[in-house]
């Protein structure tokens, strides 16, 4: 089974071809970073225009990279949401057109499910597993028992962790995009110089909160001596605090997951923030302490890509979960509202 995947829900235009034996035959990402950088964030209309300009050419290249024709495909998968609707529409219409011309099954993939199932593409992780999904727009702990089968243990009550990284980067005067910039700055910083709060630590449950941490960074940074290390030290102190908050909430989730899934023993971290090396390390250490297997896909498959969309398409097509040409893209689409195989 060979599936074309299309991803256009934020600021990366992506096309990939993946086979059901878990091989990625091509995987192309056209980043729009340079187009959005002057604005300090993703501008939806600029993103939508750029997706339209690039997606057909990118699909063509993905086929050529894989040395394939449309006839070799067994299905087309595209992100159907959640995300910036202007971009989602462009990718979805592209997929519908290809499906119509070549009479192929169409899979409208939930972008979050793409992230959630990536570990099965990269590491053949078996169900069930515990998932920490961390990105610019999401911060959730979920148990995953099958494609479309998610139980949410906790989510952020305010900002997503990626949002906290982005806002911290802005506060510290670091360049866009903020996540990688904070990580880079933190490498030479002293994580103990500032004692930032570890939001929600010690409380029961698996919810997150990051707005207080961000506010504390702002207040402390403004009051701090502006020496040559202040930015690096603030970045490192912030990253450590965010990491400890994630670890604390994930520990609670492991406890619940273990009780509900006696045969489950894997912690998967996915989403753009999972590309952060420090967070991978502290979460990996937590998994070791808890005698859990730890799986974090390679960073290039944590950030937005189309290979994960193609893979989620494979998983759904195996179960006969296809969509029709009248599928309506969904700007909001929580994972727990996915259709489940009956």
């Amino acid at each position: 089974m060979i599936i074309l995947g299309i991803e256009t829900s934020c600021d990366e235009t992506a096309a990939a071809i993946v086979r059901d034996d878990r091989s990625i035959l091509s995987n192309l990402v056209n980043s729009q970073l340079d187009e959005h950088r002057p604005y300090g964030g993703v501008v939806p209309e600029i993103a939508a225009r750029s997706h339209l300009d690039h997606i057909d050419g990118l699909v063509d290249r993905a086929l050529r990279d894989a040395n394939m024709e449309f006839d070799d495909l067994d299905g087309v998968a595209a992100t159907g949401g959640p995300g910036l609707i202007g971009g989602v529409l462009v990718g979805m219409m592209t997929a519908k057109a290809i499906a119509l011309v070549h009479t192929l099954p169409l899979m409208a993939v939930n972008h979050l499910e793409g992230h959630a199932l990536t570990a099965r593409l990269t590491d053949a992780v078996e169900f069930p597993y515990l998932l920490l999904l961390v990105s610019g727009g999401h911060c959730q702990l979920l148990s995953v028992t099958g494609p479309g089968a998610y139980v949410r243990y906790g989510t952020t009550l305010d900002d997503a962790v990626g949002e906290a990284f982005d806002k911290t980067a802005k506060l510290l005067g670091l360049p866009y995009p903020g996540g990688p910039a904070v990580e880079q700055a933190a490498r030479s910083g002293n994580p103990n110089r500032f004692d930032f709060p570890r939001p929600m630590r010690g409380r029961p449950g698996c919810d997150f909160s990051f707005s207080g941490l961000k506010t504390a960074v702002a207040r402390t940074f403004r009051a701090a001596t502006q020496d040559e290390n202040v930015v690096a030290d603030a970045a490192a102190s912030f990253q450590t605090a965010a990491g400890e908050a994630l670890v604390d909430r994930t520990r609670n989730a492991i406890e619940r997951f273990r009780a509900e899934n006696p045969n489950g023993d894997t912690l998967v971290v996915a989403g753009g923030v999972a590309a952060n090396a420090h967070l991978r390390t502290v979460l990996g250490n937590l998994a070791t302490d808890e005698e859990f297997r730890f799986v974090a896909p390679p960073p290039a498959l944590c950030t937005d890509n189309a290979a994960m969309i193609a893979w989620a398409g494979i998983e759904r097509l195996r179960l006969g979960l296809t969509d029709t040409l009248d599928f309506a893209p969904r700007p909001r689409w929580p994972l727990n509202e996915l259709r489940v195989a009956s």
């Binding site: 002057p38 604005y39 300090g40 501008v43 209309e45 600029i46 939508a48 225009r49 339209l52 300009d53 997606i55 057909d56 699909v59 063509d60 449309f70 609707i85 202007g86 529409l89 462009v90 990718g91 979805m92 219409m93 592209t94 997929a95 519908k96 057109a97 290809i98 119509l100 011309v101 070549h102 802005k170 506060l171 005067g173 040409l325 009248d326 599928f327 309506a328 893209p329």
Partner: protein, 224 residues
């Protein structure tokens, strides 16, 4: 030659198959939203009812705008992907020329005006033989009078009333056209077919005509 026309750039969705100077199959639905759900189903329907597969389609014609940003992207992304998937030549026409082509101007030059959902209006002037007299533009109704030719002028499109309301006291020779006010895939296919027969050497796929830059503002103050 089988030509597939499609449009979703304004408050309608349409698809048509055109062959030998005649409309073979045609669907046209007015709608404010839902273009993404409907458009590909219309394409499938007109193609199937014409008993064609995509191997039989020789040319795809799509509108490129101006119109709603989202709607024109839905149509253009669909058309470009259909062309890529079927390795079919593709040509773009503007919404304004598609509406102009559908009019009977009766010997007068005419203006086509399309609602942009904002204060300004998408406009283009045509002569009595439906040839463009200027490039498509976006203008406030009150600024339109100076660009009009002297003498009787007709006006069409779904923003014609807005313009008449704004300037009819200053430009009394304006007469409203009674032809279609929205683009239609049947006309679009016909325009594209004629253009393609004159020049079949197509290069890059058609690009969107937004007539307006994205609403994005550079940050003026550095947040510290």
């Amino acid at each position: 030659m089988n030509v597939l026309g499609i449009d979703s750039a304004t408050e309608a969705c349409s698809a048509a198959i055109w062959r030998d100077n005649a409309v073979i199959t045609h669907r046209f639905e007015t709608m404010r939203r839902g273009h993404a759900e409907v458009l590909m189903c219309l394409v499938k329907d007109v193609t199937q009812r014409a008993t064609l597969t995509f191997r039989d389609i020789d040319l795809i014609v799509t509108t490129v705008g101006p119109g709603g940003f989202t709607g024109l992207r839905i149509g253009l992304a669909s058309a470009r992907a259909l062309a890529l998937a079927g390795r079919i030549p593709i040509i773009g026409v503007t919404t304004l020329e598609a509406i102009a082509q559908a009019q009977s101007p009766a010997g007068k030059p005419f203006l086509i005006a399309l609602d942009s959902k904002r204060a300004d209006i998408y406009v283009q002037l045509f002569d009595d033989a439906k040839r463009p007299l200027c490039e498509p533009g976006a203008m406030l109704p009150s600024d339109i009078e100076p660009i009009l030719p002297s003498g009787p002028v007709a006006i069409g499109g779904n923003a014609s009333m807005a313009i008449l309301d704004a300037i009819s006291d200053r430009a009394p020779a304006l007469e409203r056209l009674i032809g279609p006010t929205l683009p239609d895939a049947a006309i679009i296919a016909a325009i594209g077919a004629a253009r393609y027969s004159k020049n079949p050497n197509l290069t890059a796929p058609p690009k969107p005509l937004y007539l307006r830059s994205p609403d994005a503002h550079l940050p003026t103050v550095q947040i510290q």
